[in-house]
């Protein structure tokens, strides 16, 4: 019953998120609404991690598995990939490297500015 209860809590949050998505005046993914909703519930203490621990561990630990059907759907688009595989490959490699560099340098620069603001006592 413990796990059933946890499934109930998480699925209820997802259910409400879908409802909120319908009524929002702009397009915003229901799964992200669910994430924000759950975060707020935890932050306000209305929900304790213990209430959903096992179910959430199960979902997070198996995250990769749930993506299989979405990936297999590529079978219906093989012709697109056949034509575009080289640009796809190049775009993925180049943008991954540049995103890494941009994030690392901006984090480092912000930390540097903050430490100067504090008088340079910290890194």
């Amino acid at each position: 019953m413990k796990i059933i209860k946890q499934v109930g809590i998480i699925f209820s949050i997802c259910c409400i998120s879908v409802l909120i998505e319908q009524y929002l005046p702009f397009a915003f993914p229901a799964s992200v609404i669910g994430m924000i909703l759950l975060f707020l519930l935890l932050l306000t203490g209305l929900l304790k991690i213990d209430h959903i621990r096992e179910k959430s561990d199960f979902l997070l630990a198996n995250m990769a598995f749930f993506f299989i059907p979405a990936g297999v759907n590529v079978i219906n688009y093989l012709d697109i990939l056949k034509v575009n595989w080289l640009p796809l490959l190049l775009i993925c490699v180049f943008t991954t490297v540049i995103t890494f560099a941009a994030t690392a340098y901006s984090v480092r620069f912000t930390m540097y500015l903050l430490s100067r603001g504090k008088g340079g006592h910290h890194e």
């Binding site: 998480i10 699925f11 949050i13 997802c14 998120s17 702009f26 397009a27 993914p29 229901a30 799964s31 669910g34 994430m35 924000i36 909703l37 759950l38 975060f39 935890l42 932050l43 991690i49 959903i52 179910k55 959430s56 979902l59 997070l60 995250m63 990769a64 598995f65 749930f66 993506f67 299989i68 059907p69 979405a70 990936g71 297999v72 759907n73 590529v74 079978i75 219906n76 688009y77 697109i80 640009p87 796809l88 190049l90 775009i91 993925c92 180049f94 943008t95 991954t96 490297v97 540049i98 995103t99 890494f100 560099a101 994030t103 690392a104 901006s106 984090v107 480092r108 912000t110 930390m111």
Partner: protein, 225 residues
Amino acid sequence: MSELWTSPYFGIALSILAFWTGEKLQKKLKSPLCNPLLFAILVIVVILLVFRIPYDSYNEGGAVINMFLAPATACLAVSIYTKIQILKENALPIVVGCTVGSLTSMGSVYLLCKLFGLDGAMTASLLPKSITTPIAVEVCQTHGGIVPVTVIAVIFTGILGSILAPFLLRLFRVKNPITAGLAIGACSHAVGTSKALELGETEGAMSGLAIGVCGIITVIVSMLM
């Protein structure tokens, strides 16, 4: 013979078997190239093609698995909540880093798609490639992209990130674990995070946080486009 794949159990059982084999293989080979998710997708696609099993039959079970994506995404809130202390102490660098990272990712993808002359649907499919799959799929759908192309690009990006991470950390001389984690998470989401966890606890925590923050920033930016 076709009775075998007319029930939803077929798609579920096949997916579990393929993923399980992929995990075993990864443990044995210890290579980031051998990603269980990528392995499972390839194996299932080959099986469906070889045995001429219709995609819709597989998807009877596939749809059931797919249903768990939204609850799994919601649960990212739990992992962020457990790292709330690091989040509070480094709020500004986290937000600045993830914003710059997300904008760089989308901007560079957009420019390269134009350069290669890819159409609008392909561009929309690739734009969210650096964020976690459930959010990327939603961003792709709201902009008329092709979901499987997004999924493949996201997974491929994640695997690339986890392979390149140690090399990129040296190349850009990243020593601070917070910086390292954020950079890995921002460019290669959950698959990269698994690599960040190997580097250290702080790296892993920051990488996990970057998944959520970059996801939300990308959704907001793509809504404005």
